[in-house]
């Protein structure tokens, strides 16, 4: 069994669907940071069979919007003194800005470059879809 040191202060992103860990790692730019980060893949899980886990030392500030879009089923554990002091469920964000563009070619946001539209969550059962604040078309989210 692979053994990874516990972290003293930081966060653990747990219950990541097997295979999504790398995507989250990349989208959170964890390959660029200078604090210790571990991506664990294919970890045995009693609930899911296998799962991915990300451990981040010395940082508790991550982009929950991106995380919520990619893996709304994940759990965030805040670690202090090697103990979990808080558990949080990740949620699909109600509002997103700057992560994707409106899919509607007739939308003004695709013509005037200075616009950064806000997308509001329309529905989240099955696919995640957001309504553009300008044209109100639905844009399905996929990374």
């Amino acid at each position: 069994m692979l053994k990874v040191e516990s972290i003293h202060h930081g966060i653990v992103i747990d219950h990541i669907t097997q295979g999504k860990g790398k995507k989250i790692f990349d989208r959170l730019n964890l390959g660029e940071v200078d604090y210790p980060v571990v991506l664990l893949r294919n970890v045995p899980s009693s609930k899911y069979g296998k799962k991915d886990i990300i451990k981040i030392e010395n940082c508790i500030d991550i982009d929950m919007t991106i995380l919520g879009l990619i893996e709304p089923n994940a759990t965030i554990n805040i670690i202090e003194g090697e103990r979990i002091i808080r558990k949080m469920k990740v949620e699909i964000p109600e509002e997103v800005q700057g992560l994707f563009k409106c899919k509607n070619p007739r939308c003004i946001s695709n013509t005037e470059a200075y616009i950064n539209p806000v997308f509001k969550l329309a529905k989240s059962n099955g696919t995640v879809e957001y309504i553009c604040e300008y044209c109100e078309e639905l844009t399905s989210y996929s990374l």
């Binding site: 509607n104 007739r106 939308c107 003004i108 946001s109 013509t111 005037e112 200075y114 616009i115 539209p117 329309a122 529905k123 309504i131 553009c132 604040e133 300008y134 044209c135 109100e136 078309e137 639905l138």
Partner: protein
Amino acid sequence: MSLKGKHLIDPGDFSLTELNSIFQLAEKIIENREEFSEICKGKILATLFYEPSTRTRLSFEAAMLRMGGKVLGFSDANVSSTAKGESIADTIRVISSYSDIAVIRHPKEGAPKLASKYSAIPVINGGDGGHQHPTQTLTDLLTIKKLKGSISGNRVAFCGDLKFGRTVHSLIKTLSRYPENKFVLISPNELRLPEHIKHILKSDANVEVVETEDLELVIDSIDILYMTRIQKERFFNEADYVRLKDSYILDKNKLKAAKKDMLIMHPLPRVNEIDYDVDDDDRAVYFRQAEYGVYARMALMALLLGVYENA
């Protein structure tokens, strides 16, 4: 309650009470136009039409002129600074210092909303792509109120291009806010109402919606038949337009089965979707609808400018 200084981008920007205040004033204007002939003296309307329009632009211009105001603007994006690459944000900032109120028509969806964010004066959406056309909605609702007696409790059928028809999108969303309206959607499969609007109708407003491709099948159950043109300018592909353009043509024969008090409405311009024979039918109200459009726009601008406050 005051509408002074507000923008009209989407009919949803206004509460039903605010919408009713517009209709109240419009009805007062219809009763006594002379009383309102100087109400906008000294005010300037800017008409920023980035795509061709005759009816909406002239209706706005007529509305402002009938209230004693003045009008400036352009009706072709190629002769405006847009052709030089000016952004909408910059255009409206400049226009804000030239005029008191602006109406914008733009082929891109959401352009008037964008303008409203940078504007110091009230912005009215005069139609944006296939998205919204709120002043047509005011026109349509005023027509229904005047000729049907109530905006509620009607079975309203929309026929033709329900995909790109912005008049339909604006009207159906607004009608769904009034109680006990039911909808029948008649269109070819390729021009069905967009899912995001159906989602609003079914999930948010929880109204009855029936979809069919057959006008004759449902015409006997309709209180208001809203016909639309298949819009050539909305198609990327000419072949698709040619295939679909004659999908529905309303004629006297089809009207035999319709209710005696059904209203036939159309935002105009008509191409061939309503036979000219139908024009003489008492149920055909589309030209009166166009006339009401001027009164609806007069009332709207008077309230947004704050030159009139409803009691």
